[in-house]
Symmetry: C2
Subunit: 577 residues, 2 copies
């Protein structure tokens, strides 16, 4: 279990500060993550990686010559926000374009895609290669829906080596994509891990049993079996990886060549890994597969989860040449890297400074103050519910929903208070809250709540004294934004299942002439009923797809959060008079 | 807990095989451990390290240019045998002498000292630097009695760098010794670990508590406190290390400079370590200590023990220059190491080949057959008692006594059977058993049992039909050998407490004219009583010195083993007719 922290909410920032303090030879901190503290003799394509923290050396430990140029560092097991990714990419950019690469998870896809769009809109050529190496997260005919696990490392390494070789963005993207297509992993787990400040483990595996295909955030696997011997595990790993469809096994007389990476998830240690690797090497040899470069150690962890994964990168000549070039990062060093030039220390901050505020009417400023009060109360309510939210999220997800919502509402309420105090109107206040929420909470829910607050803010404006109809329109825009952003519809067991009844009920009641407070009260009740009813649904979105059955009977945590906040609004604030 | 193995007894060999399979770029296997698979352009002093396995990257992971030349690899948490150390040192020797360096534990001291004597007798100049960095294992005025923990790494690194610089053996020894004198560590632990095949954890720490000063084999610490925050732990580590006597703090205006190594013992993971390191760096800064080179990660583990240690190497100009030279090993790489030349693949084996057997009389061959039978029965009895032996050993020691005795008796019985079948007499058979026992069991008890069997064998000879008086002399020689070798006397809570009554009672009964079988029966009864009585003693030997109180009430496992074997001899074999 994770034991050492100060305040759990400070864990990500303090972890990053310690990492930066220990790793100045390779990296420096920028808003949203880290970039190299050195520079190449000539500008190259910049490889920007990232994801939630808790997976060290993924992702910050893989920044340095021959590997990544920057890493966006999210909260534990939670995607970095779009703003974080954008900030890191801007700091890493050297004028030759950016390759974004990350594991294929719903939250990361949302945030990195938004960052990619923002960078492109600003004229920075930007491409994406998502890592999809986990063979048990989707069948081979839907390989693009697979999750990314320790294969992150091989894909990032090829991308970084291609960039270091001076290749252009097209070639770097194409090689990273080829490396991903030729990387396969499978993982097993024996016990879960605890997130900092969370009492319950993310998941458990019974003593003496082993979960097959379990994901790096505890996503349920495909089967549970008795704990095998070390040799039995090696056989399982090798057989399943070689059996995956379209593995590029040799069809001629020449042997296939691979990079083999036997990865410990946290508390399965080196000696055990070597006992397993001994048999892995024998079995690959028997299968006619030559291990061109073996790696045994910790390349993608999940705090102290007890688990193991085996990754094979099927080499071709070009990939093998790139693989054996030098690299020098906090966690991975190979070959002789030319001593890099230190980068100028004082890099311009990429945080947008606080600009002058848009003009606001007295009525809108009054509404802003009530929004601040509601956000405060919302944070308190989420704080009280956080443990329960985490618990129900752990059934099908990664258990971080409560922590993320707590961080998000706290940041939103602080940011809103700061601009409201400076005289901001309702729209500006909600926008500030939206940015802070999305930025600090990270993950899918952070992005979604950013969309909701911004949509409502747009309709409320900074100058008008908004009407109930404005809020109706705002909620409708929020529904449009969320469904377009997250690609979910009603029935997919997401927050949409509560948001749509909220918006529809409110619109109907206002249309029928109800007092706005009464209309909201009916809407909040509808959202609460709908959130509870998500317990009967099977999830269809994102990574939840692979383990639908397990979460039936438990409501969707995002829908429950929305209902909690709708009731806070009902109690503390009649949103329009 | 350790989960992945095949047969627990095969764990060490299979671990080593996997390590060799994964690490051929740096190391190759030799009898007893590993040496570099590369060679330097010019011969250098050879730095040979070693210790029990279970501490990866200590010790095999630290072999390569800029660090060690070879590592003797013992069983889990158990010293390599003298033969292993000697074999690795011979394979690593380049004609310029050998520096042996290892953590200061009783078993390691016994075996490495014996190897040193053998190498010197053979004309190889050989020196020893024992690592004594653990400030809580003895007070500063007895610093030479302290244990070695993660400070192994800094001492080995300086020794390896000095050797790589081409310095002579005097200078390498002196620099390693200086590095040890300037290295201080302290560790804490939150939970124990299980050895492969052992059901009970080596020790436990209550939930929410932290043991201060706990050793890397679970040796009890000096205090148990409530689990602190990450910052609280950082403060404890830094304050205690700076307060240790004779720490070379700066006395002039210049700042002290250190290498700081924050080490995870196994399942305290990177993100937590970075949170702690953040505060360590701040506190060292406040104290005027400059961290010239920070390291955060796993440098000396204890399987998956949850624990943390902080090591400070107080640099001077010469140590700092050496510290920043390149190194390239499986687990530690820094700077640009010149591509090393591969070593000729087929190195001569250092195992002594089976020579022709000494002539043996028919009577002595008959006795040899009975010795084989007794060793077989002894192995069966130890096998049945192994769990209980491990349990009582875990109270004050490292819990490996049962596993070591099982390995030792098995190897001894196999080796004895092999030479007896070829026609060996009693002495040769016992010598073969002694070598195999010491070699395969490792640890202190392996060495001691080697001494006992060899002493008895010497008196029994290969040609005589030995008398009860020969066995009396053999047992007396065994007592002399064991007390001189292990520096223990009666009352120190060791095997000596049972061996002396065995020898004395047998001698007295034979002297009084008793039938040898009856005499042995009395002697075995005396040994059994004496072994049980060790429960009332406080230990005075080796590392047990620091935690005597805890083991009062539990008998010494070595004494109990001896009693078990004495009863086996009583039942299955009247040793002389």
């Amino acid at each position: 279990m994770t034991r050492l922290w100060n305040a759990p909410d400070d864990f990500p920032d303090e972890m990053l500060a310690g990492f930066v303090a220990a790793s100045g030879r390779w990296i420096r901190q920028v808003p949203g993550g880290v970039v190299r503290s050195t520079r190449d003799p000539r500008p190259t394509v910049s490889v920007v990686i990232g994801g939630g923290s808790g997976h060290y050396p993924a992702f910050g430990g893989l920044v340095g010559p021959g590997l990544a140029h920057g890493a966006a560092v999210g909260n534990p097991f939670s995607s970095p926000s779009a703003r974080q990714v954008e900030s890191v990419a801007r700091a890493a950019h050297q004028g030759r374009g950016v390759l974004l690469s990350y594991g294929n998870y719903a939250g990361d896809v949302l945030h990195f895609s938004e960052a990619e769009a923002a960078l492109r809109a600003d004229g920075i050529d930007c491409r994406t290669v998502r890592v999809t190496d986990d063979i048990f997260s989707a069948p081979a005919d839907r390989a693009d829906q697979r999750r990314g696990i320790a294969g992150d490392f091989t894909v990032f390494r090829i991308a970084g080596a291609a960039a270091a070789a001076g290749l252009g963005l097209d070639a770097v993207e194409s090689l990273a994509s080829r490396a991903n297509a030729r990387t396969r992993s499978m993982g097993v787990a024996f016990s879960g891990c605890n997130l900092p400040g969370v009492d319950e483990p993310l998941f458990t595996v019974p003593d003496g049993r082993m979960a097959i295909g379990l994901g790096i955030h505890g996503e349920p696997g495909i089967a549970e079996v008795d704990l095998p011997t070390a040799d039995g595990l090696a056989q399982l790993l090798v057989e399943r990886l070689l059996a995956d469809e379209e593995v590029p096994l040799p069809d001629g007389p020449s042997s296939a060549r691979v990079v083999a990476l036997l990865n410990g998830l946290g508390s399965v240690k080196y000696e055990e890994l070597y006992v397993v690797y001994r048999r892995v090497a024998e079995l690959l040899d028997v299968a006619g597969v030559v291990v061109a470069d073996p790696h045994v150690g910790e390349y993608c962890t999940s705090f102290d989860m007890a688990g193991v994964s085996l990754t094979l990168l099927w080499l071709d000549d070009e990939l093998e040449r790139l693989w054996f070039t030098p690299a020098d990062t906090p966690a991975f060093r190979t070959g002789s890297v030319r001593t890099s030039l230190p980068r100028p220390a004082a890099a311009a901050s990429t945080e947008r400074p606080d600009g002058p505020l848009p003009r606001a009417s007295a009525e809108s400023r009054q509404l802003a103050a009530r929004i601040v009060t509601a956000l405060d109360a919302g944070h308190a309510a989420i704080d009280a519910a956080a443990e329960e939210l985490g618990r129900i999220d752990a059934v099908a997800g990664d258990g971080d929903h409560g922590v993320g919502m707590r961080r998000g509402t706290r940041a939103a309420s602080h940011a809103a208070a700061a601009v409201a105090q400076r005289g901001a109107g309702a729209s500006t206040t909600l926008n500030a809250a939206a940015d802070a929420w999305s930025d600090k909470a990270g993950g899918t829910s952070g992005a979604i709540w950013g969309v909701i607050l911004r949509a409502v803010g747009r309709e409320l404006g900074d100058e008008a004294d908004p009407t109930a109809e404005d809020l109706v329109r705002g909620l409708n825009r929020a529904v449009e934004g969320v469904t377009s952003y997250g690609k979910a519809t009603v029935g997919d067991k997401t927050l949409v299942d509560a948001l749509v009844p909220l918006a529809d009920t409110f619109a109907a009641a206002v249309g029928a002439g109800a007092d706005p407070a009464l209309a909201w009260s009916k809407a909040a009740a509808a959202a609460t009923r709908a959130a509870a009813a998500t317990a009967d649904l099977l999830p269809r979105m994102g990574r939840a797809r692979t383990h639908g059955e397990r979460s039936q009977g438990t409501p969707d945590p995002g829908a429950v959060s929305l209902a909690v906040l709708a009731r806070v609004v009902e109690q503390s604030l009649s949103p329009v008079d």
